[in-house]
Symmetry: D3
Subunit: 245 residues, 6 copies
C-alpha cells in the first residue's frame, strides 16, 4: 500500500526541530512534522499554583491553541468566542500530564514552567508534535536554569516523545496526516519514554471497534516512530553530562 503522500505505512513524515526561535522565552522550539508546524515556548515563573503551596515542588503545565487559519477552513478564534473548546482543554491537559511524567518536580525547584504550544499550520498530529516539541522546549528552559546555577540537579528522568498511529483503509499506519486521520477507522496517540515505557495510550475506534491483534500492531508502529523522534530530539538537545544515568 502506498499512502497519499507516498510514504510507506511504517514511515514518519519529514521531521524538523528548530530551537531558539523566540527572543524572550527561556526555551523555544519550532517543530515541523510534514506540513504540521507548532511553535513551542517554555516560560519560567518563580511561583507555583495554590495546590502545591509549601510542598517544595515545582509544576509543569501546558497551554495549546490553533491560529484561526492554521486549518484548511478558517476556525473561529477561541479568544473571540470567549472560551476554549473541550478539545483544546483535553489536549492541553494531555501535554502537561505527559511532560510531568518524566520530571522530578522536587528537583526542578519551586517554580512553574508553562509550555505554550501554538499551531501555526495543522496537518494532523498537532497534539503529538506539541508533546515532542514541548519536551525539547522544556529541557531548554531547565538547561538555562541549570547553567545559571539556579537548579543544581537535572530534573528530567528520560527523553519522551509522542506520535499518532491508526488504521486507515484497513491498514495500520504510523504518523497520520490530516486526510488519513479524518478517515481513519481507529486513531491512537502514544506517548512513550526512551526506555520504551508507556506514559499515555489514547486509542479510539471512530466507527469500528478494533481487535487485540490490531492493537498490538499499532503499539509496535508507535514505538518505532517514537524512537526515531527521540533521535531527532537528541540531535538538538543533550542532557547535561552526568545527569542522565
Amino acid at each position: 500500500m502506498m499512502r497519499s503522500d507516498g510514504r510507506k505505512p511504517e514511515n514518519l513524515r519529514s521531521l524538523s526541530i528548530k530551537t531558539g526561535v523566540n527572543l524572550y522565552a527561556e526555551g523555544s522550539v519550532l517543530v515541523e512534522m510534514g506540513n504540521t508546524k507548532v511553535l513551542c515556548t517554555a516560560s519560567v515563573e518563580e511561583k507555583v499554583p495554590p495546590f502545591l503551596k509549601d510542598q517544595g515542588k515545582g509544576w509543569v503545565t501546558a497551554e495549546y491553541g490553533m491560529l484561526p487559519r492554521s486549518t484548511h477552513e478558517r476556525n473561529s478564534r477561541e479568544a473571540a468566542k470567549g472560551k476554549q473548546s473541550g478539545r483544546t482543554q483535553e489536549i492541553q491537559r494531555l501535554i502537561g500530564r505527559s511532560l510531568r511524567s518524566v520530571v522530578d518536580t522536587k528537583k526542578m525547584g519551586v517554580r512553574t514552567i508553562t509550555i505554550d504550544c501554538d499551531v501555526l499550520q495543522a496537518d494532523g498530529g498537532t497534539r503529538t508534535a506539541s508533546i515532542s516539541g514541548g519536551f525539547v522546549a522544556m529541557c531548554l528552559a531547565f538547561s538555562e536554569l541549570h547553567k545559571r546555577g539556579l537548579m543544581p540537579e537535572w530534573p528530567v528522568r528520560e527523553y519522551l516523545a509522542a506520535v499518532s498511529v491508526g488504521v486507515v483503509e484497513g491498514e495500520p499506519v504510523l504518523d497520520l496526516c490530516y486526510t488519513e486521520d479524518s478517515g481513519a477507522e481507529t486513531d491512537m496517540n502514544l506517548v512513550m519514554t526512551e526506555s520504551g515505557h508507556f506514559v499515555e495510550i489514547q486509542g479510539t475506534a471512530e466507527e469500528t471497534p478494533f481487535s487485540r491483534q490490531t492493537l498490538d500492531t499499532l503499539l509496535g508502529l508507535g514505538e518505532k516512530g517514537i524512537r526515531e523522534i527521540i533521535v531527532c530530539q537528541k540531535s538538538v538537545f543533550s542532557f547535561p553530562g552526568g545527569s542522565h544515568s
Copy 2:
C-alpha cells in the same frame, strides 16, 4: 494482596443497574458500582445538530455532571462557576463517542438521543459507570421508539460496557475505588464491546511509566470486568428479538 475493601485484585465491586427511575425520560437507569451512584437518563428529540443536516442520520450525545456533594469534600457547582471544567468536557466527549461506536446512526432515524449522566455519589469510576449505565438508558429509549413503531430497525450493533483498571502499590487491579484511584501509579479506562473489541483505551501513567507486560495484564483484567458488567446489563435489558445477530 487484599484490597482496602477486602476485594481480590480481579474483582468488581458490587454492581446494580436499576431501570425506570425517572418518570419522564424515554430511558432511565440508576447504576451503582460499590459506593459510586450515577443517574443516567436518555432523552429523545426529533432533530439533529446542524452538522448532520440533510444526511438522514441521527446523533447520540452525552452530558456529565457531579452533584456538589457527591464527593468527600463539597465541590463548587459548575453552573455557579459559569463553566464546565476541562475534566467534565473530556468525560462527556468520551461517553458520547463510546456510545456512538455501537450505534448505526442511519437506522436510529433523524433524531438526537441525549444521555445525561449525573453523579449522585462518587467513589471512583464515575465515567466508566456512566458509560455502562448510559448504554442501558440509551437502549431503553431506542426500545421505546421501536415499540411505538417509530424506528423499524434496531440500531445498536452490540452490547458495550466500560471499566477502570490500574496499578496500585505495584499490583494490577480491576475497578478502582476512589482511594485506590488517587494513589494509583497507572490508571486506565477501557471501553469494549461484547465481542471483545476495543472502543476506547485511555491509559495514563501518573508518575511511573508502565511496561508492555503491565499493559497486557491490565487489558486482561479489564476484559474480564467488562464481560461481567455486560452480563448484568443483559439481566435488565435484552435486545429485541431477531435484531441482534
Copy 3:
C-alpha cells in the same frame, strides 16, 4: 371539586422525608412530595464569607439545581449554558433566606453550612420541597456538630417548612402539582414556622389579580399544610433535649 390526582383542595400530596441518603454529607435528605423528588445535602465548612469577617457569626446558604431531565421536556444544563437562570438564583436566595430566619448565627459558630437542593424529578413545588427538606438536612448537620461537641448550643429556634397554595379553576387549593401550577390563576409560596409566624409570602397573580378574601383563604390552607409537613419533619428529626423551649 376533585383535583386531577383525586385529592381534595385541602390535601397535601403523599410526603416522604428519607435521611442519610449520602455517604459524605454532614446532613442529607431525599424529600418526595408526590412525584417531586429533591435531594438535599448540608455541607459544613469551617469558614465564612468575607462580609462576615470578624463578627463571630456563621452563615447558612443554599444552592439549587434541576437535573436536565427532571422535567417533562429536557432542559438545557445550566453548567453547559454557562450561567444560572434568574429563576434558579431567585430560588436559591429564597431557600437560604428562609433557613437563616430560624437560625441563631452566633450560636452556630464561625462556619458555613451550604444546603444543596438538587431536583431529581419535578412535578411542581420544588422550591417549597427544597425548603422543607433542606431544613431537615441543615438540622442533621447541626446535630452532627453538636454531638461531636463542636457547637455547644443548639442554634435552631424552631421548626420551619414551606408549601405552595394557589387558585386553580377558581378554587383555592393546597400543594399544587405541575399541571395545576401551570394553569393557576394565582400562585403563592408560603414559608412558616411551627409557632405559626410567616417567614416568606410570595404571591403572584398570573393573569387575574386576587382579592383580599382569596388571600385569607390561601393563607389558611397554607398554614394547615405547613403544620402537617412539620409533623413529618419531627418524625425523622427531633431537636436535642432541652434545646427547644
Copy 4:
C-alpha cells in the same frame, strides 16, 4: 413615633412623576419618591419572543439597572462584571410580571414593549418605584400606538402601582427609605390594581418571623399608599376615553 425623615408611619415620601423625559422612547417617565429617582423608558418593537410565535399576542418585558453611583457607596457596574446579579434578575422579572397582569396581550398586537428602569439615585423602594413609573411609561407608549391607529383597542385593564411596607423598630410603616429598609424586621413589597386586588405580595422576615395580625396591618398600609400613587399616575396620564369601564 416620628420617622427619621419626620414622616408619620402611614405617609408616603414626596412623589413626582415627570413624563416626556427622553427624546426617542415611545414612552418615558422620571419617577421620584423622596430621594429615589428612576428613569423609565418604554420601547416598542414590532416582533415578539420565539415562545409567542404565531399566537397573535404581544409581550411586555422589563429590564432593571442601577447606575454604579446611584448608591451611598459605588457598586461595580454589572456590564463590567459580565453578568447581572440574582437581585437584578429577580427585580426585572417582578416588574415585567406585574405590568403584564393588567395588559390584554391580544389587544396590544403582535409587538413587544420593553420597559427599561434605570435607577439614577437609590434611597429604598427602587423596585416599587420602577413598577409605578414603568406602568405610566408603558401606558404612554400604548397611547402613542393608539393615537397613530396602530392599536385600535386600549389593552390596559386598570391602573396599577406598587409600594413597600415593613416593620421598623416594631412599628408597621409605609414606603421605607434606605435607612429604614436596611434595619427593618419585616420587608414587604405590594403590587395592587386600582380595584384593590393583589398582583404581587412579597413579604420577607429578615430576622423575626411576623404574625398574621402584623400582616393585616401591613396590607392596610400598602393599600392606602397604592391608592395615593394611582392618584398621582392619573394626574399625568388618563386612559383614552371610553376604553376604561
Copy 5:
C-alpha cells in the same frame, strides 16, 4: 453652508454643565451638548489598583455606559449581554487616559477616583461630552478632599476639554450631531488643555482619506470649540486659589 440644526460650521451646540446632581457622589455633573446628555459622577475610594502598590500615587479611571434607550433605536443592555463592547472599552480607556494627563497622581494621594459617564440621551459626541463633564466631576471630588484637608496640594495641572470635528459633505465642521456624524467623511475627536496642547488626537477617514490641509482646518476648529467649553467649565468650577499658576 447651513447645518441641519441651523448652526454655522464653526459653532458648538448649546452647552450646559450642571453640578451637584447626585446626592452621594463626591463630584457629579450633568453635561448637555445639544440633545446629548451625560451624567458624570466621581467616586473616591481610599485604595489603588495592584499595579500601583507601594508607589505613593493615586489613580484616575473611568467607566462609560449608554442606557438602552439613549439612542434612536433601543440597544441591548450590556449587562444583559454579559460583556462590554469593544467600543465601550475603547471609550472608557480614552476618558481615563485623558483625565490622567492633567493630574499629578502623587499629589492626589493614594486613592482612586472613578469617573462614571452614563449616557442618558445620545445625539453624537458622547465620548467628548463625557471627557468635558467628567473633568468637572473629577475636580469637584478633588475639591471636596481638598476642603476636608485630606489632600493638601491641588493635583490638577490645568483645565481640559474635548470636542469632535469632522468633514461633512465636504466641509469641515465643529461638534457633530448624530446625523452629521453618521454621514461624515472624516471624524476626529480632540482632547486639549487650556494652554492649547494636545492630549489626544483620534482622526478616522470613514471612506475618503483626508489631506494635510483638511487636518489643519479641523485642528483649528477643534481648538476654538475647546476654548469655549473651558469657559463654560470655569463658570461652574474654579481651581482653588493659588493652586493654579
Copy 6:
C-alpha cells in the same frame, strides 16, 4: 542623538515582508520590523455579516492576537481568560477600519475577507506592522480571486501602510521599539495611503501634552516612514496591470 539600537531618529528598523507562509490561506505574510514579527493571513468566505445583507457589497474585517510568550514576560492567553482585552478589541477595530478605507467593497463582491494578525514576537509597533502586513495579505487574497476570474475588477484603490512615531526623551523619532514606546512622552500611530492622505491619526500624550509644532514634526516623520514601507510592499506585490491609475 543615538537611539538604543543605534538608529537615527528618522530611521525605520530593518523591514521584511515574506509572502506565501501558510499553506491554506488565500493570502499570507510574515512581516518583521526589527524584532517585531507578525503572521498575517487573509481568509475568504463567500458570505457577509447580517448588516450588509442584500447590499451587493463585501466586507473586510480583522482579528488580532498575541501569542502568550510573544512578550518579555509571559501574558495570560486570552482564550483561557475567556475574553479579549479592551486593547485587543481596539487594535482589531483599527486594522479592519484602516484596510476598508482603500477598498471598494462593491467591486470586491459579496464576500468577507478576514485578516488574522497574530503576533509571534513583540518589540513595539505590532498594530502598525499588522496593518502594513495585513494590507499585503489582503491584496494577495484579492489577487487570487482576480486570477481565478471570481472578481473581475480590482477593488483596492491604493497602497496603504502604517507606522508609529513619538517623542522620546524630548526628541521626535520614527518607528519606536518597545523600550522607546514604554518611556515615550507622546505616542502616535499613523495610517496613510500612497498618495499621502491620512486614514487614521491616533496620538496620545502619555504624560505631557504636546504642542502643535511637535505634532507637525511627527506627521513629517511618519509620512517618510510610510513611503519607505510602501516601497517594500511593492517589492513583494504589484497591483494587477491597468487596475491602478
